[in-house]
């Protein structure tokens, strides 16, 4: 009995490493400049920045739990923003549906290459990234598209508020979070993602349709990337060819900081939400200071990522666990 309690306690320590990182980052922000960091405007900014990060991180979490990876989200984001903004003047539902369909097609292609033709996930999604990047450049010719200011998506998804203080994007995010974490626990097809990521062969023998599961994970990822693309276009008020550059790595970083295992099959979905907030707050704190120039930002994100990873390793290794066990 006593052992069980110990185990559950230790389990909680492992699971909430993302939350620990989040608290740590918030503390750093408060210690650094409380008046500025906790101001109304700044919190709004953090929430808005979280939306894009988190939408990508949600999708990436599905794919990574499935034992795969998606490097094409950044360019998917770029092209989807462009599609949405160029179709919007004609009809709102059509723009939305076509953009989401685009996500489904990209995800299905990724999933098909990986699950059916046995592509290494990195190579499949990398070539997809090249393909989409080429298509963006061919279509746009490198020109930035600026939607009109009275545009519905820009008005509501980008700058809309719920109850006067919550950005609409953030509310969408929370709703999506509940849908995702509910379906990861309760919808069989999506729950199978854990099984496939944990041990593909075993899952196959248990009768799980590996092909279908993988394709589903990739479609979810790409559709969420499309939503993120619409969000970026709405927030910045412009659709550019390079809109998503660097976001793929931030999404992976968010997922990893959240404590989801890169080898697949393990990790709580809530982690990627914390991870996305950590990344957003880090870059926010960085923008509030003025003694390091802008080039340091990526270096610091990289170092924090390494620090989090090493801490996770140390916590998960026997050393600290045993020490904690003795104390409890």
């Amino acid at each position: 009995m006593k052992n069980e309690i110990k185990h559950s306690l230790l389990g909680k320590i492992n699971i909430s490493s993302g939350l620990i990182a989040l608290i740590a980052v918030i503390l750093v922000g408060i210690l650094f400049n409380p008046a500025l960091f906790l101001s109304y405007q700044n919190i709004q900014n953090i929430l808005r920045q979280t939306v894009t990060n988190a939408l990508l991180a949600y999708g990436m979490a599905f794919v990574i739990i499935c034992g795969s990876i998606d490097l094409s989200v950044a360019t998917t984001l770029g092209l989807s923003g462009y599609i949405a903004m160029s179709l919007l003047p004609y009809s709102f539902p059509m723009a939305f549906i076509v953009t989401m369909l685009f996500g489904v097609v990209v995800g299905a292609m990724n999933g098909y290459l990986i699950a059916k033709i046995n592509f290494p996930p990195m190579i499949a999604t990398y070539s997809m990234q090249l393909l989409i990047k080429g298509i963006i450049l061919v279509i746009t010719n490198g020109i930035t598209l600026k939607p009109q200011a009275d545009n519905l998506i820009v008005k509501y998804f980008g700058h809309g508020m719920v109850l006067g203080f919550l950005p609409l994007g953030f509310v969408v995010l929370v709703v999506l979070y509940s849908i995702c974490s509910y379906s990861l626990k309760n919808v069989p097809l999506i729950r199978n993602i854990y099984a496939v990521g944990g041990n593909e062969e075993a899952a196959k023998m248990m009768g799980v349709n590996v092909f279908k599961t993988k394709i589903t994970a990739h479609i979810i990822c790409s559709v969420l990337a499309c939503l993120a693309g619409v969000n970026v276009a709405a927030r910045t008020g412009a659709a550019t060819a390079g809109a998503g550059d660097g976001y793929d790595m931030l999404a992976i970083a968010s997922v990893v900081i959240g404590g989801i295992s890169m080898s697949g099959g393990r990790g709580k979905f809530s982690g990627c939400m914390y991870g996305a907030m950590v990344v957003a707050i880090l870059s926010n704190i960085f923008k509030l200071q003025n003694f390091l120039n802008a080039y340091w930002e990526r270096a610091i994100i990289g170092m924090v990522l390494l620090a989090v990873l090493l801490t996770q390793v140390i916590i998960n290794q026997d050393g600290l666990k045993n020490r904690l066990k003795k104390h409890i």
Binding site: G134, V138, L309
Partner: protein, 315 residues
């Protein structure tokens, strides 16, 4: 029969290259000349060095996506040290040492601390690219070295054979000899195939994999120095962008399994040539450069499909 399979494995990538070459000779104007071959060689030199290194790491079961940033960082470091000390050997040594150190850190993070290789090197990628920008304040650093510039444009036999050929061939031969003759190659392959089994068999897993990462990063640094030297400047923003992905793509096209195992260095070199011939093909046919992304993607997909055809039929 086994021998036949081996020959098939070795020849499949060169075959794709030869097919692409013949296709271009037939359908692209002015393609069939020694000048084209020369430009394929000169333009793929630095990528070839990086790709040979990446093949080592991938064969050892890892992956290193910090190579592009390392490429830039080491070139920038080289240029700056050259400016401060005005001594080529010192600058060279500084860049190579820093590359070795980066490889060491990456290797230890991956093998000792068991961080996923992609994530550990991704953090390193961020850090190195940012350092390259911080140290130079984002500005391009000029390289004033007559000797280096002359070295980068040396050619032999009345300009028929550029020095680039030897810069590709010499490391390749050295690496091939190491892999074929020294036990190190076998150890790397064993680590890539099955880490636990290699450990049980008494192979020093950590030591060997770290050495693979170090070799990879040092080769990348040489590539970076060469690239910067040929244009007499090191640009922290533009150097080495997506080089790591091209290197990984070349390795996979070359027939080295991305999950680790037997390295195929000749295949990797031809993988690099394939990527380069696509770019040249696009340019010479007057197709706008943006299409090269699309064509590269399609060719990578086709190459991997051809290599996996047996598996697909089996499955």
């Amino acid at each position: 029969m086994i021998k036949m399979n081996k020959i098939k494995n070795i020849l499949s990538t060169p075959l794709i290259f030869v097919l692409l070459f013949i296709f271009n000779c037939l359908f692209t104007n002015n393609f069939a000349s020694w000048y084209t071959v020369k430009s394929i060689i000169t333009q793929s030199t630095s990528l070839a060095l990086v790709a040979v290194g990446a093949t080592f790491v991938i064969a050892a079961g890892g992956i290193d996506i910090s190579l592009g940033s390392g490429f830039a960082w080491n070139a920038v470091l080289f240029a700056l040290v050259l400016q401060w000390t005005e001594s080529l050997p010192v600058a060279m040594l500084a860049a190579l040492c820093s590359a070795g150190l980066i490889g060491l850190i990456n290797g230890i993070n991956v093998v000792k601390f068991r961080i996923q290789p992609m994530i550990a090197t991704m953090a390193m990628m961020y850090i190195l690219r940012a350092f390259a920008k911080v140290i130079t304040n984002g500005a391009t650093v000029r390289i004033h070295s007559k000797w280096l510039k002359e070295f980068c444009y040396t050619s032999f036999f009345n300009g028929i054979l550029p020095i680039h050929f030897f810069i590709i061939i010499i490391p390749l031969v050295v690496v091939m000899i190491i892999v074929k003759k020294a036990p190190f190659g076998l150890y790397i392959e064993a680590c890539g195939d099955n880490l636990e089994a290699a450990k049980t068999a008494g192979i020093r897993v950590v030591f060997n994999t770290v050495i693979a990462y170090m070799i990879c990063n040092v080769l990348t640094a040489i590539g970076g120095i060469f690239d910067a030297g040929s244009v007499s400047s090191a640009d922290p923003m533009a150097l080495g962008i997506l080089v790591e992905m091209d290197a990984i793509a070349a390795t996979v096209i070359g027939g080295t399994s991305i999950t680790g195992g037997k390295p195929n260095f000749i295949g990797t070199i031809f993988g690099v040539f394939i990527l380069q011939i696509i770019t040249i093909m696009i340019n010479m046919n007057n197709i706008s450069e943006q299409w090269s992304y699309v064509v590269s993607a399609v060719i990578i997909i086709i190459a991997v499909v051809i290599q996996n055809i047996k598996k697909i039929r089996g499955a």
